[in-house]
């Protein structure tokens, strides 16, 4: 079990983060904590993409002069595509968190609380 975990450490760490994020979103009464949970959930996925792009002994994907050396060996470089994708995903994530936080500001101004149970009671009245 322990060997299994240490052999695939990034995956287990990501799985734990996903569960923590999900718990934050589903199990917490405070809307702020739910947004924090969402952020953790998204970060776990970003880490997943980055960890998947890594290669043992590879370096950053910047080609120096290769005149006369033929083609560069792709195994020498980290796969850059997931990093590019994650830049976009981070922007998407920032947009979502930004919208969520602006929702929270509006909700707090309207209700004076961010506790989900109090909010639901408030609405039912």
């Amino acid at each position: 079990m322990i060997e299994e975990i240490s052999a695939r450490f990034p995956y287990w760490a990501i799985a734990v983060l996903l569960v923590v994020g999900l718990y934050g979103m589903m199990g917490k009464r405070s809307l702020v904590k739910q947004v924090i949970g969402l952020s953790i959930f998204q970060s776990a996925i970003i880490l997943f993409f980055i960890s998947g792009s890594l290669l043992e002994g590879a370096t950053i994907p910047i080609l120096y002069s290769v005149h006369g050396e033929g083609h560069a060996n792709p195994d020498d470089f980290v796969n850059p595509l997931p990093h590019v994708l994650m830049l976009t995903a981070i922007v998407v994530g920032v947009a979502i968190i930004g919208v969520a936080l602006s929702f929270l500001v509006s909700i707090y101004r309207e209700f004076g609380t961010l506790d989900e149970r109090e909010l639901l009671d408030d609405v039912r009245e």
Binding site: L38, Q42, I45, V99, F103, L104, E110, F111, V123
Partner: protein, 514 residues
């Protein structure tokens, strides 16, 4: 080399560009917001229609964004199916925008530019999902559309705030799960292009990574399309959303998520991949069958007309999921036909509800007694929409159900036939309940009998002072011209779609899915 047809970029690009321009111009001249937004949607609709015509005349084509060919660049795939769904989305949105202008003026407050900017952003996201041929690009468009939808739901008042926040959390989980699935597919195949991924998945024995990816993708899209048991966000969001918004997102938003799921079956995962070790097709079929019955039963128990329609949406989306789960070309074509039919039917019903709310201000079905003769066009359109939902020929709803039942027989899945018929009965129960109140019951004499129905104070149900003492329903007049005309057009469209369904099936959908 021929220059590539530039049409697809207008379908997505026009709404995307003007979603930024409209808020700015809307600040300078308020009335420009609506007109510009309408013009933009018209441009997208015309571009979609021309693309469909081009596909039918020649062959499906792909548009390389910025001139970069895949797999380096992003491609937009315009085939029969995507062009058809684009036409449906843009034309339904156009009619809805016209019809809900009065609501938008009231609900968007002093910033109509921002409201219409969000509407255009929503449309850009939805059409982007439909035409893109790239898995990651689909995620980006999915989140663009969702973010616009969250914000639009949120502006509907106190209850809508909570519903909108819940929608945001659950919708973002859906998007994140989809992205996780795309990650697995990418690491299993090394590509993000749908067609290429399919070739690579077909060539190799299916790995565990690809299967896990498929599960995450379907869980994520299932959340977005409100597949039972992942539907909990939908009724609140649809009920409390502003009237100008729910008639827009109910017909198109979840339908596009359903389309994305269908696209996964058509373009990404090879046949057999999803019914082998990971029986996703069977799971969709079973959840769909449960969802059809659950949605109809829950709808029958609602007294608020918008909430009833929301549960009915869950049932109809489950119907589309059943089509995807069956997986035969006929079933997929039936599911796609239902995407179009349901967009027209649900837009009709939600717009009729919004029109009633505009004139009477009430939403509980039992308070609408006697409204039929007062608002003949609105309620007539509602009746046609209801008949189509139940599936009585020659309206559109009948034919998608007919093809689905036929596909069920072909596949030997008799339970599909039984559930489709049974759901028609249940649909009849909850929609006839409304029609009975509206046409057969006399208006309630006491306005105080409205119970817990919060009467919208802004409704204009008192045209002449001498009528002020009479029940609110009897005071109601027909909705204004620009509200009922799109409504009648949509109701007519449900009949026309039914009449020409053979043409659509034979020339557009069946070639598109085979």
């Amino acid at each position: 080399m021929d220059p590539q047809p530039q049409l697809p970029v207008f379908i997505v690009g026009a709404p995307l560009l003007f979603s930024v321009i409209v808020p700015v111009l809307g600040r300078i001249w308020r009335h420009s917001a609506f007109l510009l937004a309408l013009a933009t949607v018209a441009v997208a609709a015309v571009a979609s229609a021309l693309s469909l015509e081009l596909v039918l005349r020649k062959e499906p084509f792909s548009y390389h964004l910025g001139g970069w060919a895949p797999p380096v660049g992003i491609e937009y795939v315009i085939d029969e199916v995507s062009a058809f769904v684009c036409v449906v989305i843009t034309s339904v949105s156009f009619l809805v925008l016209v019809s809900t202008r009065r609501w938008a003026e009231r609900e968007a407050g002093d910033r109509p530019g921002v409201f219409y900017g969000l509407v255009l952003l929503l449309l850009a996201g939805l059409t982007g999902i439909v035409v893109t041929g790239d898995l990651f690009n689909l995620f980006v468009f999915l989140e663009i559309a969702s973010l616009a939808a969250y914000a639009l739901v949120f502006i509907g008042g106190r209850k809508a705030m909570l519903a909108g926040f819940r929608y945001l959390i659950i919708g973002s989980i859906g998007g994140a799960l989809y992205l996780l699935g795309v990650g697995f597919i990418y690491f299993a195949t090394g590509t993000l292009n749908m067609i290429e991924a399919r070739e690579l998945l077909e060539g190799t024995p299916s790995t565990r990574a690809a299967q896990v990816g498929a599960v995450f993708i379907f869980a994520g899209l299932g959340l977005k399309m409100a597949l039972v048991p992942m539907h909990l966000w939908l009724p609140d969001a649809y009920e409390h959303a502003p009237s100008s918004v729910n008639s827009l997102i109910a017909p198109v938003m979840t339908k596009v998520a359903a389309y994305a799921m269908l696209r996964m079956f058509l373009s990404v995962f090879p046949a057999g991949f999803l019914s082998g070790t990971v029986p996703i097709a069977d799971a969709l079929l079973i959840l769909g069958l449960i969802g059809i019955v659950f949605g109809s039963v829950a709808a029958a128990g609602q007294s608020d007309i918008r909430r009833m329609l929301a549960y009915s949406s869950i049932s109809q989306l489950a119907f589309i999921a059943v089509g995807i789960g069956l997986g035969s070309p006929l079933a997929l074509a039936a599911a796609l036909l239902h995407v179009a039919n349901h967009a027209a039917m649900k837009a009709t019903l939600f717009l009729a509800a919004a029109s009633v709310r505009l004139r009477v201000g009430l939403q509980r079905t039992h308070n609408l007694a006697g409204l039929g003769p007062r608002m003949p066009l609105t309620m007539g359109a509602f009746a046609i929409g209801s008949v189509a939902m139940i599936g009585i020929p020659p309206t559109a709803g009948f034919f998608s159900k007919w093809y689905m039942a036929q596909a069920g027989v072909d596949e030997g899945q008799w339970v599909v036939v039984a559930v489709v018929l049974f759901s028609s009965l249940l649909t009849a129960v909850y929609l006839f309940k409304v029609l009975e109140q509206v046409y057969l019951r006399p208006a309630k004499p006491e306005p105080s009998a409205h119970g817990d129905d919060e009467r919208d104070a802004s409704a204009d149900a008192a045209p002449r002072p001498e009528l002020a003492m009479r029940p609110v329903v009897e005071r109601a007049r027909e909705a204004p011209f620009d509200v009922w005309l799109p409504l009648v057009v949509l109701a007519a469209a449900t009949v026309v779609l039914g009449v020409i369904n053979v043409v659509i099936m034979d020339h557009v959908l069946l070639p598109g899915v085979s």
